[in-house]
Amino acid sequence: MKKAAIDVSYVADLARIELTEKEKELFQKQLGDVLDYVEQLQKIDTSSVADSALAPDFKANTLRADTITDSLSVDDALLNAPQQNNDLIIAPKIVE
């Protein structure tokens, strides 16, 4: 993997971020440098690490009792909605 491997425009599309041409150019270079730096990980022998060791270090799987508690009111839940009507959040249509 060389620094050319990252195609910032393509990845920005995956991440649903519109970037300006200037940002694309800048990130292409800066992220190329960061990827060159992280290249060092490829040289580390990780054959001793089992895939199962990768889960976060939970000492116990803590579950809570299935009791009914208060949840956010409709007003609270809609407090920050950019656009709303009839207790619903309004967004552009998704299906043509």
Binding site: A5, L31, I44, V49, A53, T62, L79
Partner: protein, 481 residues
Amino acid sequence: MNLETSTIAGLKAAYQKKTLTPLEATQDLIQRIQEVDPKLNAYLRFNEEDALQQAKAAEISKPLGGIPIAIKDNIVARGEKATCASKILQNFVSPYDATVISKLKEAGAILVGRMNMDEFAMGSSCEYSALAESTTRNPWNQDCIPGGSSGGSAAAVGGWEAVAALGSDTGGSIRQPAALCGCVGMKPTYGRVSRFGLVAFASSLDQIGPLTHTVEDTALLLNAISGHDPQENTSHAVTVPDFKESLNPSVKGLKIGIPQEYFIEGIDSEVAAGIQASIDWYQSNGAEIIDVSLPHTNAAVAVYYIVATAEASANLARFDGVRYGKRTENPKDILDLYRSSREEGFGQEVKRRIILGTYVLSSGYYDAYYNQAQKVRQLIREDFVQAFQKCDVILTPTSPSPAFKTGEKMTDPLQMYLADIFTIAANLSGIPGISIPCGFTQSGLPVGLQLLSSHFEETKILHAAYAYEQAHEWYKQQPAF
């Protein structure tokens, strides 16, 4: 400033003796903020009326009764803005309290202000804030950065314009600014303090913790915020000790590990000298100094910038302009709504990290980057397990250099990332770490000493930190304005 009454312990004592009331203390603090904050710009918002109201209602019999605490702006409190210093959350008002906020309210604390930070806690200098009117300054030299991302919390405590503060630490964001601003900062064990209500950056690394003037204050604040939370399934159901009981001034028999990998070339010579002097002090006071090895130390920054950005790209996907946060005006369609809201709402560093995180998780690169990084992360964890079989605590510098100049690393993200080289491994391993002041450079900038211990053994680092602090009392020095 009167030291006696500017710490949590000092205020508690003064309230008990009735030489001071919470209202008077809050009025003093407001006056101090008015004097100092125009120079430091540590507070994003401060509601004077609200603070005075809370002070009038304070019950001093409670554990933190009448104690003013400042909050990093990525921890939500009901009815208040929580912006993460981002335009995308500029007008966000939280409909609920974070668990740490509920706990502070229950303990009687006065919540006094919202602190500046790097946007979404991504940064090591506090310069990536998108909302601050002016850059947050280091209290010891206003040409320098305060560190980050909890730079507002650290600058306010270091500048004595806050009694204590909460921050969050994903790769060093409490400890590094604490070191650079001359205060105490602790990242508790992963699972010790609930993150419910902390805006998520990298969920396998994020941890809330205290920034204070003294180790005793850190213990008192940690007592108030620790414990299992049914709302947060990574918080552990383990007993919380009284951290204040671990404050013991003797270090006789304490085993302190020194990892050779942390004493690298390129570390500032005055930082190295300060750390060496502290090692000598521990040794001459009866602690046993033991060489330990953490062989995968060099890989920590690389692992971090894969794991943290991958998690961030997933966590920040929720900011899409639909349910809350900034929405672009007149979007063409739903895709344009997502893309333009995110383009307008996120700052450059946040975008850079989302792009990197999306890339390392993308098809064809996942195994080479993300999976490999997770495996090396496991080796880093195992290094600590091995090392802690030989010692109680590990001692390192907190940061390779004292505070750097404002603007110095803004054009080179990689150099900025390397500022966290000594703090990141604790997050990757989930272990607790504390930074305490250990002196000053010739030019008067604070140097920080980091102590690490094994999971849920905060008492050991509090003990080691307290003993050193009591013998040196660096906190008695204050910056001049």
